[in-house]
Symmetry: C2
Subunit: 769 residues, 2 copies
Amino acid sequence: MAATLLGLFALLAVPTVADLFPDCAKGPLANNTVCDTTASVGDRARALVNALHIDEKFNLTGNTSPGVPRLGLYSYQWWQEALHGVASSPGVTFAPKGDYSYATSFPQPILMGAAFDDALINAVATVVSTEARAFNNANRSGLDYWTPNINPYKDPRWGRGQETPGEDPVHLKNYVAALIDGLEGGQNQKYKKVIATCKHFAAYDLEDWGTTDRYNFDAQVNTQELAEYYMQPFQTCARDAKVGSIMCSYNALNGVPTCADPYILQTILREHWNWTGDGQYITSDCDAIQNIYLPHAYTNSREQAVTDALTAGCDLNCGSYYQTHLPIAYDQGLFNQSVIDQALIRLYSALIRLGYFDPASATPYRSLNFKNVSTPASEALALKAAEEGIVLLKNDGILPLSIPSGKKLNIGLLGEWANVTTQLQGNYAGIARFLHAPLYSLQQLSNVNVQYTSTENSIQFPTTGNWQQLLAAPIGNDVVIIADGINDNDESESHDRYDVTWAPGKIDLINQVASQGTPVIILQFGDQLDNSPFLNNPNISAILWGGYPGMAGGDAIVNILTGKTKPAGRLPVTQYPGEYVSQVDMTDMNLRPNTSSGNPGRTYKWYDNAVLPFGYGLHYTNFSVKVAGSSKTTYNISGLVSGCNRSHFKYLDLCPFDSFNVNVTNTGSVASDFVTLGFISGQNGPKPYPIKELAAYQRLFNVAGHSSQTAKLNLTLGSLARRDVNGNQILYPGDYGLLLDVPTQATWNFTLTGSPVTLDQWPQKPAQG
Amino acid sequence: MAATLLGLFALLAVPTVADLFPDCAKGPLANNTVCDTTASVGDRARALVNALHIDEKFNLTGNTSPGVPRLGLYSYQWWQEALHGVASSPGVTFAPKGDYSYATSFPQPILMGAAFDDALINAVATVVSTEARAFNNANRSGLDYWTPNINPYKDPRWGRGQETPGEDPVHLKNYVAALIDGLEGGQNQKYKKVIATCKHFAAYDLEDWGTTDRYNFDAQVNTQELAEYYMQPFQTCARDAKVGSIMCSYNALNGVPTCADPYILQTILREHWNWTGDGQYITSDCDAIQNIYLPHAYTNSREQAVTDALTAGCDLNCGSYYQTHLPIAYDQGLFNQSVIDQALIRLYSALIRLGYFDPASATPYRSLNFKNVSTPASEALALKAAEEGIVLLKNDGILPLSIPSGKKLNIGLLGEWANVTTQLQGNYAGIARFLHAPLYSLQQLSNVNVQYTSTENSIQFPTTGNWQQLLAAPIGNDVVIIADGINDNDESESHDRYDVTWAPGKIDLINQVASQGTPVIILQFGDQLDNSPFLNNPNISAILWGGYPGMAGGDAIVNILTGKTKPAGRLPVTQYPGEYVSQVDMTDMNLRPNTSSGNPGRTYKWYDNAVLPFGYGLHYTNFSVKVAGSSKTTYNISGLVSGCNRSHFKYLDLCPFDSFNVNVTNTGSVASDFVTLGFISGQNGPKPYPIKELAAYQRLFNVAGHSSQTAKLNLTLGSLARRDVNGNQILYPGDYGLLLDVPTQATWNFTLTGSPVTLDQWPQKPAQG
């Protein structure tokens, strides 16, 4: 083995950022078909792969690819991150100062999800891919990005829930479609702008819970919930948005590590979802191939682990396990050369689709530079994204703050989030040009005095630090603002939470501060906490939820506090009560309530004891909603199906059902955005029935006081259909209701007649053995 | 409330380190009896307290004590740490450079415990208290220290187990007696050298396990195991070593937060153990008073929480909860002034016993300075302490390393501990003059070449970093040394482990390195891990356990690797198999096996499926042991009791039973230390019976090859007695065995005749109501 290892040493000497594009004009590959821009993508990739020696092929299967110097094929780093802006990662190199020393840093997806504004997501993704191309042109990043994370955020303890737009699959589907379009630059272009990577496929949403961690977890998911929930965002990403790349995950799914599972990689992803376009490839999560051997112990040798993964269709290994062990496995005859050829053809087809082998003049993407990075418009978009997402959870009328003219408002400010820096960004972040915390942004106001009391010690020792100074924050002030919550020390990659409550010492402190007669406003950052102690306390005047609001987070918060911007975000997740975590194990993947296990149900679809529900959010005004103009209350199923233009809608679930106009009236005087949410309820199809399911949403902008706008909720056949125990998606006849807003303000009832129709026949897992 | 808070603000302006000793010659207190060195300690303290206004009294109840400027009583910080050397803490200020910028940093107690050398512990503690006094004389620390942590280390997951000498109560009792003597300077001195604080009283050994944490945990402990195990180290500390201070803990015990529990603070500690000497006081853990209110919710008001604690006898609050809430509770009539007076009399009696109000000339301690800190002798003791503790767990003969003369040994070195710095120290550490990692110390050898491969990424992503370079470590080397294990990122305060196994990726890496034909030596640092994968792998030649070895840790390891020093440490804890953690909840305080809960038993006394047992440790030679010379095999209980000199032994459990001479023969040729361990076994008293229990031990030094030394195992009546369900300690007639060494090499059988005798009548908890 030692000799083999020595042979691989060349891998480690190469830089981690691509040196150059291959020289297709005069380099060794000039006469290879890969350099022929008139040839098909497949022919070009095959020609390149045919020129490789077998040892060279193995070397190209890891994220740190050495390339093939003999052929003028440079090293390439496949691992770039860009969750909410170009992000620090092995393939991304920020400059120490000056050009390329920063990029726009948007809020975390969990806050952008709260905006319920798909156009915003598309605009953000467009900025990210523009900046990514600029970095690539400066040899400061590669062309493929391991984003987005679209595992539904089904358990409030998940440490990476912040990376997702929330818990609802329809919301995630719309989000990912808008995002992939913005990142990859549209589906029907010759050149992809960058390649996005939907991760983590599939059923990955646990980091570390007791002795179970993401590396050893075997998620037990029944076919019904796999098809209706865990797979849905990936279906949209792969089947409809036709993303360039998918990442298989650390966990096993029903006994098989996902990176070695032909049922999900081949049968579902490539066959059922027709994800077989030029250059569409699968990468493993980092070390997920090693994990097949240990800790999963799915194979009894390292060679079998790499063979199983490669054969199942995992084309690229984040890590060096392929590079180290594929040669030995090949020598042992465990797979044929055609298997590795297929993987490499996919990978190099992907680079071809990025224009990697084409002249710089072929695409304007190659002209982007630092002038296109962190522009005033991009930074304004980062502010807007935060403003649109922030959710008003409580308000006794104190907000927006009113400041008598000619006077200054005296604000006492405290809390662990008051003066943060990178904490504003959450994880998978890059370097921002600035990071505005609430303290900074409040200090920019000319009509306030801010008296800030910093927190000397962490909450671990609340009363040993400057507890008494904190208690004294109300003294001499008109209002106290407490910027607190949780952060990446409490929840992050490899680190789930065990509880969803505020630390008892903080509750004690905050309630003492609030007992002194001065109004208190809580700015709660990070993911959701059970806010009951403050929602129920009349001395707490208002609560805003700000997630991880990004570079301009403080500005966004202050604009909302002062009323310059009006809040209209909605909770993209359920706010669970503290006791929830003792009612269901994190390892329990079931969504439906189960009386024998005690699982009270997951997400707003199956759980109805929320502190605050999915979709909740207040405004500085009031809105009334009703369905307008749709006179139809009965639909025939066969008519719906036969009326669908199948040349336009390849998949039945995407066929239109109806478009509902919703009349939204601002009954107050303050102009405000409004997120129109439409849910479907009904007792149709297999029991049990969900409480309701999100069908469509539209954000209206700047609805003037005492006036109306019309929102259009476009429902598809898939909006109404349900999945049976085999995962088949079926449109059932019966009575349905379209429920508007949260809490429900109005319901539109209608009926489907005729016979059930299957919209999607789910592929079944073959029997093992 | 605001006015009260404002009044307390003075607290926060004071420095955290005492400015000066009170001026008893010319200051405002000069004529107060507190300054009269001929008066009794109690009279002096009472006189001072009588001079205080009530508001001043409340201010003096927190760790950050403002003193009373009016009386020339300076601020005092009660919070100093010195677990294994003067340590960074609120009351200890290291200088940025030069004098007082460092102190001697000894190994963590878990490694010093492995030495089984009480004289070593006493010597270490003497150095620590000398350095503490020097720091105090420079106004860089106070005079009381919140050390040692003597909760028995009963669960391998406990994040603070490293702070303790291990799992066995007899071992802890001897350790704490030796330590307190060294720290406080002997019991019968007029002046205490420093005050030590035995913590955490009681049944505290859980940081954070699921939704249970140390702040909210209610430990359910039965009276039998409370008396025989959890309380034993505190009994020695308080009753026998007469420590100056005890710290009550965060957790509740059988429903009552310990800091508010008169049963343990008053009935057991002060009454049963006669812990009522001048200046013996109780402090709370930091915020443990706040925790009585939240999260324990033991009281329904903050005022009742502080009242319950003060009334139960907790004299000092680490935190500001007493300072904030006692005034209001007093105004509400919840307690009388005599209660707070008693607390303050205890606290100021303690300072009087430290010479705080006496002239500098009264004690040589006041003359210590930086010349007494981190002396060559102290640093040599730090090296010796590490060498004595290191345990040899496996050796196929490769150790000590043999280097042919005239050649150099080529060593490949890797692992996350190879080139560490402060990680050598573990938690509660100070700043050391140097920190020698294994890499540094190996590089000091003239006859080796070290090829070090650093670990680029953490184990989280093993194969994405320089995995292949790590795999290549054997190439060109004679031996590979892997310095790894766990550290404070895996286990620490507020952070328990969930597993006790090596990370699967590391097992995979290490076994691949070992498969290449070059011998591999593992240096395992941090607390115990299930070493089965390496014990069972014939390609792994040797394993040393090094704990957290302190400033000279690398030197100690290298001295043992080369044979300059011979290993003789013994495991102070059980090395459990990985599956153990799924067999017993961390919240389960029961030591005895329980078939219904599945608890397989805790510690070597009740659990016999260890990977490696308590007391295990190999040598570079072999030893045989046998009981020599003791011809007696039958003892009459009443004779034993009546023969005890009760004027010398106040407590029956301390009465001598017999002294066994053990003949220890080094049957090999290499001189070596040897730890002689004697355990008692028998089937006497209440069922179930422990497998065995440590009775006595003695470390022999430098036993020459092919020669013998005699160890003396002094057993007391307490060594043989057992506790019944009411906690009463009873000496039972029956057959006993004295088991020598681990694994047992020899047994000496004897019989007790006569009737049972109660050695200690345990006070029962009064019925609640």
